[in-house]
């Protein structure tokens, strides 16, 4: 298993490969190793619109971190 933190200014649903789930921002998520497209649930006022990444060589103590930023509407 690999570990990922999706940073965002608020608590929001995280969408992995276009599929919704119970994943949330600012917590450690566990996913199998591999390539993913990560985005957030609406409202869509954040940037970038999506992040493509490859998850490998992470641990729960050293998860991969990606960040979405709020944009003003």
């Amino acid at each position: 298993m690999q570990y990922l933190v999706v940073q965002f200014d608020e608590d929001r649903s995280v969408i992995v490969n276009m599929a919704p789930g119970a994943w949330r921002t600012n917590r450690i998520l566990q996913l199998q190793a591999g390539n993913y497209v990560i985005t957030l649930a609406p409202p869509l006022a954040f940037t970038p619109p999506e992040i493509w990444l490859e998850l490998k060589n992470t641990t729960v103590l050293q998860p991969k971190t990606i960040t979405f930023a709020k944009v003003q509407p």
Partner: protein
């Protein structure tokens, strides 16, 4: 002259009968004799998917439904497997719990059942008829001579004509029998309309590729078909089409229409050859239905690719698009009960110096050896996989100030004859044949044994200890299963009364 006219009239009648026979046996029969599959319109929405049952991501009960997540897997083994699984269900139904909701049974908490072969009868029947399982299934299936009825059906002359067609075979006859005798012509649409869990996954094997083929809408998306109108009995027939005894069941591949969001997951998986080979190979095998489509999919016994039925559960946990993985952050306790009716067949091949004959010895061994060899590995793998996250959570708790990490407490159990303490009794159970007709006393003993084995399973007992502590308001960071002293007597276990085993095999 009158004699000639009479002869001509008889010839005409024979000719019309022959042409009728040809019409039944040849191409048009494909359409008439096989249930039609309806190509889907695209999209990832409707259909028999876990998300569309009660407690899906959009529903208010999401957190309650997922707190205690229980999956069962039922192995193959004909009536032996169906009866053992039924015994486990009887025990689950009597185990009363008060967490996460008050006054429920453990059976109410079951979220998914994945099955192969004989186990698929119990799984599908419970999915369709719920509590009727405990009033009618014994008579309709477990104690019924299904095998004899199938044989009788093949003796009807009108079935000879149908069986003469290359597009109709014994598996179609078996599916008709299961439809009439057990499943009341129910469709997958009936499972959708119930709208409640458990999610039933009937697993077959695609003999063209050797891959597992679950009867789920996600799999049917890839062959451009709607699973809804498809007969559940045919799904069970495919799942239990034992090599040599039954023929493969054929589906048409309508080919997927564009626009399925789930495809993205597979396309990304194709980039993972060096990073995650299991994801890469799974993605490739799934995309083959789309990228290199064949017009037909021929299915046989699910045991050929996984005789314990657990792979679908592991995939759902491991893969990011799996229904367990997607709900994992909401799950507090995750239980997997693998009911494995594996027996030990005597090795008679190794006693003989002569090279074994290709048929039937080598052919039968080739078809069945792999069915059992990977069962232990699969249960072990599931156990390791699920405790990995638990270990990660315990580790992260030692480093405060980091982002929150949550993993469910895992409970992986295998219910198998290996756990029978008395070697003489164990030997008798290992000797029960694989058939759809067992003596009534064996069926009775198997049901009782399924119940007893679950009741005494140490992980089952400590899991219920955890649940009872939680219900009493004692939310503990460690599990009873992680404690040194494992002598637990949870009330829920003590409430289970297993049925009388009868006189077989003699105690």
């Amino acid at each position: 002259m009158r004699w000639l006219l009479h002869r001509l009239s008889r010839l005409r009648r024979v000719a019309s009968l022959l042409s009728l026979a040809v019409a039944v046996c040849c191409a048009p029969a494909t359409v008439r004799l096989r249930p039609q599959q309806f190509p889907t319109e695209g999209g990832d929405g409707p259909g028999y998917r876990f998300e569309n049952l009660a407690g899906g991501p959009e529903s208010n009960e999401f957190n309650q439904e997922n707190k205690f997540f229980v999956c069962l897997s039922f192995s193959g083994g004909g009536t032996r497997a169906a009866a053992l699984a039924y015994g486990v269900m009887l025990a689950l139904r009597q185990a009363r719990i008060n967490w996460p909701r008050p006054n429920e049974t453990l059976l109410d908490e079951v979220d998914c059942i994945s099955s192969v072969s004989g186990g698929s009868f119990t799984a599908a029947y419970y999915g369709l008829f719920h509590d009727d399982l405990f009033t009618r299934f014994e008579d309709r299936f477990l104690y019924s001579n299904i095998q004899g009825r199938l044989l009788l059906k093949t003796l009807y002359p009108w079935n000879w004509l149908r069986l003469a067609s290359p597009y109709y075979s014994r598996i179609d006859l078996a599916a008709e029998l299961y439809d009439d005798q057990v499943f009341d012509h129910k469709r997958f649409d009936d499972l959708i309309q119930h709208g409640r869990r458990p999610y039933i996954i009937l697993n077959a094997t695609n003999i063209g590729t050797g891959n597992r083929f679950p009867f789920t809408q996600a799999q049917f998306d890839l062959i451009g078909s709607d699973l809804g109108p498809y007969s559940v009995a045919r799904g069970v027939a495919a799942s239990s089409a034992f090599p040599f005894l039954l023929t493969p069941l054929t589906l048409e591949n309508h080919q997927k229409l564009e626009g399925f969001p789930t495809l993205l997951d597979y396309q990304l998986g194709l980039e993972d050859y060096y990073n995650n080979r299991s994801r890469y190979y799974w993605s490739r095998s799934q995309l083959d239905y789309v990228d290199a489509p064949h017009p037909y999919v021929h299915l046989m016994d699910g045991g050929l690719s996984d005789n314990i039925g657990l792979r679908s559960v592991i995939n759902a946990y491991e893969q990011s698009n799996g229904f367990i993985s997607r709900n994992l952050p909401a799950i507090e306790r995750l239980a997997v009960i693998a009911v494995n009716a594996r027996t030990l067949s005597k090795d008679t091949i190794s006693d003989c110096r002569r090279t074994p004959h290709i048929a039937p010895t080598v052919a039968m061994a080739t078809a069945t050896i792999s069915m059992d060899n990977y069962s232990f590995d699969t249960v072990d793998f599931a156990s390791r996989l699920m405790s990995e996250l638990r270990q990660a959570e315990l580790l992260s708790q030692q480093c405060p100030g980091r982002p929150e990490f949550h993993a469910p407490v895992p409970y992986v159990m295998e219910i198998s004859f290996e756990a029978i303490a008395d070697p003489r009794v164990r030997e008798k159970f290992f000797g029960v044949g694989t058939s759809f007709h067992l003596p009534a006393e064996q069926v009775r003993a198997l049901i009782s044994m399924g119940c007893e084995l679950l009741k005494k399973d140490p992980t089952f007992r400590c899991m219920l200890e955890d649940v009872e502590r939680e219900a009493a308001g004692r939310h503990e960071t460690t599990s009873a299963c992680e404690e040194d002293n494992q002598d637990f007597h949870p009330r829920a276990v003590e409430q289970i009364t297993c049925p009388d085993p009868g006189s077989w095999p003699g105690r």
